[in-house]
């Protein structure tokens, strides 16, 4: 019950044989296909959500898929605020889930 990649052998558009890439997601290797976005790799690997919202602590993943909603932000190789749906996954990329807890003001 989730997102998945259509296996190339069943794909009517007959894509070229995929080349594998592996990214490290929160310390765990996850395989994808060269040319995929970080979000595509995560979705195809069965992850639907990876960010936690600041105020409500709610799960978020991809919403717009085209770089405008910023719901899918991740860290890539330690750099924050990368749109997973826009960033091409490179072999060995370390992807992390950024925390956005609100500061305690006036404490």
């Amino acid at each position: 019950m989730s997102a998945r990649m259509l296996p190339p052998e069943h794909d009517p558009i007959t894509p070229a044989t995929p080349v594998a890439v592996t990214i490290i997601v929160d310390g765990t290797p996850v395989s994808g296909v060269a040319g995929q976005s970080v979000a595509g790799v995560l979705l195809a690997a069965g992850r639907l959500a990876w960010r936690t919202t600041a105020a409500g602590r709610r799960p978020r993943g991809v919403f717009c898929g085209i770089g405008v909603c910023f719901d899918c932000l991740v860290t890539v190789n330690g750099v924050r605020d990368v749109r997973a749906c826009q960033r091409t996954a490179h072999d060995g990329d370390a992807v992390g889930f950024q925390d956005e807890e609100l500061p305690e003001i006036g404490a």
């Binding site: 600041a54 924050r80 925390d99 956005e100 609100l102 500061p103 003001i105 006036g106």
Partner: protein
């Protein structure tokens, strides 16, 4: 409908004046060409600072205002519906740092003068500064901690002051641009009659007193009413980061900021002013430039602000700027606000010209103006702020 007082401008200063006058029992009408906090009040950082001011009348006004800000939220809680969020008042303190060898001693001297005027200005060593702000550049050459500096969310504060004024009976008319004056007939000696109200794009409004609190647009409003006020717009730009872990705990600014505030220069000047917000973002200012009301993005200012900020907090280098906003400060040629009766026109009052300190000075300004209009004993000496002062005539 006739009012005791019309306040022109629904920014922080206008809203505070309306609230103070309504609190004194006057009937008040607030007029704004656009909406509340649609001008300068919505385009700043909400600084409530004593740290950037030398001893003198502006510092006294700032100190008095700060005591009022300290108690404001409790007053608002008693007056307003819960739907309005808190004004995010935080007495977080300021940390002023020198980033050059040459800048260290002037900062320490400046702090010594302020201490003499009763400001809590603590020269701290570099190690102590790093305890206050662990991520500040350890290469700073001097640091002064100002525990009294505070911050407020200026738009919520303006809306809250305005809502409070309404709760005290004030009427707020938005989208009403002042186009001219209503005047009493000239007297037998031919002297111009007193101001009895204003013409606006939404009709005429009559009042015994008209207060101009239109920030950088006050010069235009005053001119429409037949008066002259040498207030000019001074552009400023602020960068906003995305939300990030809380790593900046005070208002941290570079000591050269004071020089920029005090300066008369029209050309671009930048200086780091860095602080985090309740929303988790970081605001990074600031710039000062006189170029009329030109609001176009100025990348030279943005680049300089970014470069200077990363010298104060090196970790910001990787932070993402998601928004840049700019506004216009009401600049006065003699660096003091104008608060009091117009030099020529009876019935006309001014409460403007606070440059970049209008949020911080709003509450004190409102009390002073209220006292002058109602004839009460002023909370502060009004003479230095008088629209009739000699330094303004020289500038005009």
């Amino acid at each position: 409908m006739h009012s005791d007082a019309i306040v022109i401008g629904a920014g922080a200063v206008g809203a505070a004046c309306a609230r103070a006058l309504a609190g004194a029992g006057l009937t008040v009408t607030v007029l704004d060409a656009a909406g509340a906090a649609a001008g300068t009040s919505g385009q700043g950082e909400g600084n409530l600072l004593v740290s950037d001011k030398l001893p003198g009348p502006e510092l006294s006004l700032a100190q008095h205002s700060l005591t009022l800000w300290d108690g404001l939220q409790a007053e608002l809680d008693a007056e307003l519906p819960a739907a309005l969020p808190p004004v995010e008042y935080e007495r977080k303190g300021g940390l002023v740092v020198a980033t050059t060898e040459a800048g260290a001693q002037p900062l320490l001297d400046f702090a010594a003068q302020q201490r003499a005027a009763g400001i809590d200005a603590r020269a701290v060593g570099i190690a102590a500064a790093l305890e206050l702000e662990p991520d500040v550049n350890p290469a700073i050459t001097a640091a002064v901690h100002y525990p009294e500096d505070a911050q407020v969310q200026p738009v919520i504060a303006t809306e809250a002051l305005l809502a409070s004024a309404r709760a005290r009976g004030a009427r707020v008319v938005l989208g009403a641009r002042v186009t001219g004056a209503l005047r009493a007939a000239s007297d037998h000696a031919g002297r111009t009659g007193r101001l009895t109200g204003v013409r606006t794009t939404r009709g005429d409004f009559s009042a015994d007193n008209v207060i101009v609190a239109a920030g950088p647009w006050s010069g235009d409003v005053a001119a429409a009413l037949g008066a002259s006020l040498p207030v000019r717009p001074r552009r400023g730009v602020v960068l906003v980061t995305t939300r990030m872990p809380h790593r900046i705990f005070h208002k941290v600014y570079d000591a050269d900021y004071v020089g920029a505030v005090e300066s008369d220069a029209a050309a671009l000047q930048t200086s780091s002013v860095i602080e985090s917000t309740a929303g988790g973002t970081v605001l990074v200012g600031s710039s000062r430039q006189q170029r009329g009301f030109d609001a176009a993005l100025d990348l030279a200012a943005v680049r300089e602000i970014a470069a200077k900020a990363t010298r104060v907090f090196p970790f910001l280098a990787e932070a993402a700027v998601m928004r840049v906003y700019g506004g216009f400060r009401p600049f006065m040629p003699d660096h003091l606000p104008v608060i009091g009766p117009d030099a020529c026109i009876t019935g006309l009052w001014h409460a403007t010209g606070h440059e970049g300190a209008g949020i911080g000075l709003a509450l004190g300004t409102a009390e002073l103006l209220r006292d002058l209009i109602t004839g009460a004993t002023p909370v502060l000496d009004p003479v230095p702020f008088s629209p009739s002062r000699a330094t303004l005539e020289a500038a005009a």
